[in-house]
């Protein structure tokens, strides 16, 4: 019965993730379309231009996203001589999950946190703060590492990367689009289809908010899913639960984290309110783990 509930949660979360990605896509393209309407009017060239520009943006950010994230976090590669314990734990869990060992990084920060990034399980990276390494015992560290490995195995790290890029694109497009719209109205007032432009304006204003909320919902689901998969890998949910309890006490606020990179971390790296948090409450995660 226990095993079954893990798998159920995994498939349900995967399906929800696909739906959410689809929604983000719809909003991204709606925003892009309105942008091209304002800029070029109803022309084929406008559509083509927007398509090429946004594809190029997505391609470059997407293919470099993991390097950018690791760079921003100040992570350095963990050598086996220096962190034999961590390297062994990650290697062992990669075997359990049936994925190649990801590149392992450490972040010199007393806060307790970790994240996984990468576009596929074959080219993934995991990073752990030194605060995490010094505060956790082996079972607890295995729990956290299993959680990150699960993100990689379930293609969460690709999804998170995709989300960061998509939301970034929507924010930029709607920002530029709004400015263009006001400018074009000032320059050539009276011109342009009124209702259409109004609709576009509503989409432009709402899109970043909706994208943000979608991203947060997605991120919370992914955390529960990764907790469940981690328990399945270690066959010991208590390790992760007790790690979360320690993190609650010590704190997970990392120096080099921002709004944009928050969803990728193990525990929330920035202090914000509950409603718009990228992570589910730690107590709820502990409760779910202990009831498995």
């Amino acid at each position: 019965m226990q095993r079954l509930s893990f798998y159920d949660e995994i498939s349900a979360n995967k399906r929800n993730s696909y739906i959410l990605v689809f929604l983000v896509f719809v909003f991204a393209f709606a925003a892009a379309y309105v942008f091209s309407l304002v800029l070029f009017g109803e022309s084929l060239f406008g559509l083509l231009f927007t398509f090429v520009a946004s594809s190029a943006y997505i391609y470059f950010t997407y293919s470099n996203a993991d390097k950018i994230l690791l760079g921003f976090s100040g992570a350095r590669e963990a050598k086996k001589e220096e962190f034999p314990y961590l390297v062994n734990v990650v290697e062992g869990l990669s075997i359990a999950a049936g994925i190649p060992t990801p590149k392992i990084y450490v972040i010199d920060d007393p806060a307790m946190n970790a994240f996984a990034t990468g576009l596929s399980p074959q080219k993934a990276s995991v990073a752990f703060t030194t605060g995490l390494l010094s505060n956790l015992n082996r079972a607890e560290l295995e729990g956290v590492a299993a959680h990150e490995i699960s993100h990689i195995k379930n293609y969460d790290s690709r999804l998170a990367t995709l989300m960061v890029v998509m939301v970034g694109l929507i924010a930029i497009l709607s920002d530029v689009g709004l400015r263009m719209m006001f400018r074009s109205r000032n320059l050539r007032s009276g011109k342009g289809g009124g209702a259409f432009i109004l609709l576009g304006l509503v989409v432009l204003i709402l899109a970043p908010f909706i994208a943000q909320i979608v991203r947060l919902a997605l991120s919370r689901r992914r955390e529960y899913l990764a907790d469940a998969t981690a328990a399945q890998l270690t066959r010991y949910p208590e390790g992760l639960a007790s790690a979360l309890e320690k993190i609650k006490k010590v704190g997970s606020a990392v120096k080099n984290a921002s709004d944009a990179s928050a969803p990728i971390y193990f525990a929330n790296p920035i202090s914000v309110g509950q409603l718009f948090s990228t992570h589910p409450p730690i107590d709820e995660r502990i409760r779910r783990l202990r009831s498995m």
């Binding site: 034999p84 314990y85 062994n88 062992g92 049936g98």
Partner: protein
């Protein structure tokens, strides 16, 4: 008449595609089991490679335990040479228990316990023991997924046609369950 033909064609195409997909997924699961099995061997081999190094390091500090070193070396050679599942399992158990007594002896030598190289080897061995356990777990997970597939409708039809037979789970022997844990 045309409509009937079209319906037959569509059904044929649909079942053909479903058939191919099911066959491919079974092959993939079977290959994953083979891969998982070789993963276990990789880790076991890494343990054999580690033993001479460990014995050399301990020898530097522990002078009067010749029989112990001989036992470890013999157990390693036996495990390396063993063929067949049950022989191999028995030899692995021997090796595990001699390593256990090696570490028990090391407990009495504070200088040895403080040695960086020894600590590294100790961590390495603990890591390998863990990886062996995880590799076996992954093997069993793979077998579970494969066996479930060949017994469930509709993949069981494809499995029966192409002779996909159930695979056996890895079961740890009672004695081995105890000896896998190396106490430091």
């Amino acid at each position: 008449m045309d409509i009937l033909l079209l319906a037959f064609g569509a059904a044929f195409l649909f079942f053909g595609l479903a058939f191919i997909l099911m066959y491919n997924s079974l092959v993939q699961k079977k290959i994953q089991i083979e891969n998982a099995w070789s993963q276990i061997d990789v880790q076991l081999k890494r343990r054999y490679d580690l033993v001479p190094n460990l014995v050399e390091t301990v020898k530097g500090y522990v002078k009067h335990e010749k029989a112990l070193f001989e036992n470890v070396t013999k157990a390693r050679a036996a495990a390396l040479g063993a063929t067949g599942v049950s022989d191999k399992a028995q030899a692995e158990n021997m090796l595990s228990s001699t390593l256990k007594s090696l570490f028990a002896v090391a407990e009495n030598y504070p200088d040895l316990k403080a040695n960086e190289n020894f600590k590294m080897l100790q961590e390495e061995l603990a890591g390998i023991e863990n990886k062996i356990a995880y590799a076996r777990q992954f093997y069993n997970d793979s077998v579970l997924s494969y066996n479930t597939a060949i017994h469930s409708v509709p993949t069981n039809v494809v499995a029966a046609m192409f002779g996909f037979t159930p695979k056996e789970f890895f079961r740890a022997e009672e004695s081995e369950k105890q000896s896998v844990k190396v106490q430091f």
